[in-house]
Symmetry: C2
Subunit: 220 residues, 2 copies
DNA sequence: CTTTTGTTTTTTGTATACAATATACATTAA
DNA sequence: TTAATGTATATTGTATACAAAAAACAAAAG
């Protein structure tokens, strides 16, 4: 049998979702700006149907507000947004870490990912760091044994912002330390420690983002 | 000016969502059963478009699994489902309670709702209990100040199962006690207590459901 | 009989058409 | 002028039409 790689055509609604979500996070829309189905459909050269579906996904993920018979409103990606977003993410990630620590599944991949991060010379490139960070968290989501929790955290992940805010070297090493401690908690089945450490870790990310947001404000 | 009540036509996708969600929770579909867009559309006498939207909502809420170019699969509403569902709900509700306790908003409505529950003679009718219970939790969601958290918890609420499992009088009084304690925590700004108490409260609900599921299994 | 290949049927993904609601503008009355 | 009403226009909600993929089935080759 000849090996093959599955050619998967991602459905249009997903592709539009991703594009729009990134655009919103990157601030390509003004806060509170109204966007219409038809406008977006024309912009991306597709029909309104998949765009409408994408709108509903984005609304469920908290990036748009839908109004009956009216155009959608783009949520403001500001301090308030990040506070709410990370408040939720902190407890969900914490619970995932708890579940991973409680699980008897094979945890060698988590160790492997961490080793990969440890042996990379600092400062990593932005792409490398993003990739490592994402792999680390995703591995914990898998290990937690709660597929729904995995799905929720996946939907909450905002690739563009989450780590573009981590340029400095000591921040990267702080993350590595934090992750190292989590690996220990999870391997030693210390659920409560994993929960607390992960919660603090995520709140740390929030504080970092808030700091950067604040600096951005002072410049302007 | 003559007072009026807004006539709001709920969009079809929402109505279909609710109907299907209830049907799934009530076990009207077999676990793992395949359901097709066209079948459901015909069954409810609507076109495929709103049904398709409803499917995507239900998939995001964890009640269906969608496969590209194939029919959807109904998730099994079993012990595994409830464990995962309540694991998530417990931390989210706990965080909401935390936020409500931290908030400086007016909390008189929560007190009012609790008084309403306290003064009703036990055992309440199922409808009364459901209504009180829902009002109580919803009020905390509002008070927590995190609209996104509010939305997530709303989507997770499964009206049919959550309280149909509460027929006995001492269970109702246990819930009332639990709620009374939460009201105190929240009014006294005791965030950590509110978090822990709410977490335990929700896990209590889970255990109750698991017990009932177990009894049902023995009968069969 | 089993496996493979080709054809038909069904079902989904996307585009378009139509109906209902909301917005913008113009017209009229005060 | 200002407020109110009517009409035109645009946008959304829903239904239908068409294209592509999957499933079911039949026929042919081994």
């Amino acid at each position: 049998m000849i090996p093959y790689t599955k050619i998967e055509a991602t459905p249009l609604n997903e592709r539009i979702s991703t594009l729009l979500k990134d655009a919103i996070i990157e601030g390509q829309f003004k806060a509170g700006e109204e966007i219409s189905l038809t406008a977006i459909a024309e912009r991306y050269g597709v029909s309104r149907t998949p765009v409408r579906e994408a709108f509903q996904h984005l609304a469920k993920d908290g990036f748009l507000t839908l109004r009956m018979n009216k155009s959608a409103i783009v949520v403001a990606i500001d301090e308030h947004f990040f506070r709410n977003h990370y408040e939720i993410r902190s407890v969900l990630e914490a619970q995932a870490a708890y579940g991973a620590a409680a699980s008897d599944a094979d945890k060698s991949e988590l160790v492997r990912i961490q080793e990969l991060g440890e042996k990379t010379k600092l400062p990593m490139t932005l792409d490398d760091f993003r990739s490592y960070n994402m792999m680390f968290h995703r591995c914990i989501w898998r290990l937690c044994g709660n597929e729904r929790l995995h799905q929720l955290l996946s939907d909450m992940w905002v690739s563009s912002y989450s780590s573009s805010a981590l340029p400095e070297i000591h921040r990267q090493s702080r993350t590595l330390n934090s992750h190292r401690r989590l690996v220990n908690d999870i391997i030693n089945h210390d659920c409560d420690a994993a929960f607390e450490h992960m919660k603090r870790h995520i709140i740390g990310s929030l504080n970092n983002i808030l700091k950067i947001l604040d600096e951005g404000k002072k410049e302007a």
